[in-house]
Amino acid sequence: MILEPITPNVLSVRRLPHADPALVRAYGGDPAKHTSLGLVTVDQDDPTYVALDECTKHAPVDVIFAKSFYAGSAHASGKLSGEILGVIGAADPESIDQALDALVRCLAHDACFYDADGKRTITVFPHVIASLGEYLSKEAGLAPGDPMAYLVAPPIEATIGLDAALKAAEVRAVRVMTPPTETNFAAAWLTGTLDECEAAAVAYAAAVVDVAGAPRR
């Protein structure tokens, strides 16, 4: 069904209650601050970035590492690899537990790709974040609490969709990731008021569905 949610599969959730300082440093953390780590792999990368951002709102944790894998989960290195590895760090294991709960909850009920052609061969991620957390606000150069539209689709669909989104709403492009990203998609982060972000996301999804239905018009 068109625009049916495709729920991400959390492939692994592990904790390192007391990680080795060398490991923490290598993954971008501060060994003085990040003694406990939480690690997840998921088969959808962009919902996971959103979920990692979400979990910084629920517990005093930092996202110290989050990277997508080349060509996406269809070409994963193993059945637990998926499309992304996310690592969060905190001073104590309880914070990691709370953050991971929030992260898994967000993936189960909120952030997900949507089917754009009814056959799941084209997917779209037109996500609206009402209030940014610590992680994506820093990545985007916005303030925590700002709204942001996080828009992802395959290259041609994303290009036409971004044009539609920018024209449909009073939004500003914070960052545009031209194809190919690691997973061979294209993405854009837009900001504005929450209403405008929502209008942009809807226009983006409608354009992607339109391109998916008529690729040669």
Partner: protein
């Protein structure tokens, strides 16, 4: 639901993907399940059948499959309704006057309070106390009180007949009977205050009893010697189930008169009263078994 999911659901509707689904294929005819008809099974055990002849309790009623027969269930519900109706009924304000009683009332002001506050139902209100002092003869041997109790239906149905029968029976034994009074919202212990106030030797209250299944019309009589506030249930003798299917009114009246005269003779009542000296009228003969009143007829072909 998350906001993004709501937005996408809205867009899905706007794109027409939420059009009503096509009609499903009509189902093939489903064969009717095999009919399971349970035949009623009357009670076969001789003990239960014999016991059922002696009581209106629900024994020896047989079964249909694993359940009661329909007529048994309907009868039970109807009997319960009779009991509920009797508790809910109110004695009309003017009933006492129309039937020649001096109207009295307890301190209860409404029916709900009557059910919730038994203590208020055991004392007369000020107006009634005044009426009692003004209208009633003092110092009778027996002061009879008719009251609604927990079944105004029973009081209205046979309260007056029972009063007249009791008064006749007492007078036949040479006892003087006080001015007839009728108390509204009354509990049994109200007889203590009334009897004390008129200075009667024996107080006797005839009141509707707590309804049982199918018996909303039963009266009880409580008799106490030397009535005064503070008497307990141990000081009272009582007869219950005074109704057409239980103890008939005449028999009850004879027994109540015998109790009253015996109390005056023995100068006591309740546990201390020697019932062996009541005399013939006091002797209990085995009562014929009660017969259940048919309240509901099950439709043809249902139940038994």
């Amino acid at each position: 639901m998350s906001r993004t999911r709501q937005l996408m659901a809205g867009l899905r509707d706007a794109l027409g993907s939420a059009e009503p689904l096509p009609r499903p294929e009509p189902l093939p005819a489903i064969p009717a399940p095999p009919a399971r008809v349970y035949t009623p099974r009357p009670e076969k055990r001789p003990f239960a059948a014999e016991a059922a002849k002696h009581t209106t309790a629900l024994v020896g009623i047989g079964h249909v499959g694993t359940r009661y027969a329909t007529d048994v269930v309907l009868q039970f519900q109807a009997e319960l309704a009779v009991a509920h109706g009797a508790v809910a009924a109110l004695l009309p304000d003017d009933w006492a006057q129309q039937n020649g009683f001096v109207p009295l009332a307890s301190r209860v002001t409404n029916h709900r309070e009557f059910l919730l506050r038994p203590d208020l139902g055991r004392r007369l209100d000020d107006a009634s106390l005044e009426a009692l002092r003004r209208n009633c003869t003092r110092g009778p041997d027996v002061q009879v009180i008719v009251a609604d109790g927990l079944s105004a239906v029973a009081c209205m149905g046979s309260g007056k007949d029972l009063y007249e029968a009791v008064a006749r029976a007492c007078q036949a034994r040479g006892l003087t009977v006080g001015t007839p009074v009728c108390a509204r919202f009354a509990r049994v212990w109200l007889e203590d205050e009334i009897g004390q106030e008129v200075g009667a030797k024996v107080a006797m209250i005839l009141l509707g009893e707590r309804p049982g299944l199918g018996t909303g019309d039963g009266l009880s009589a409580y008799v106490v010697y030397d009535p005064r506030l503070g008497k307990t249930d141990g000081d009272r003798n009582m007869i219950s189930n005074i109704h057409a299917r239980g103890m008939p009114i005449d028999e009850a009246a004879q027994r109540l008169a015998a109790l009253a005269s015996s109390m005056i003779e023995q100068r006591t009542s309740g546990v201390a009263l020697d019932l062996a000296r009541l005399g013939l009228a006091g002797e209990r003969t085995p009562r014929p078994p009660q017969v259940r009143q048919k309240l509901v007829n099950a439709p043809d072909g249902v139940g038994r």
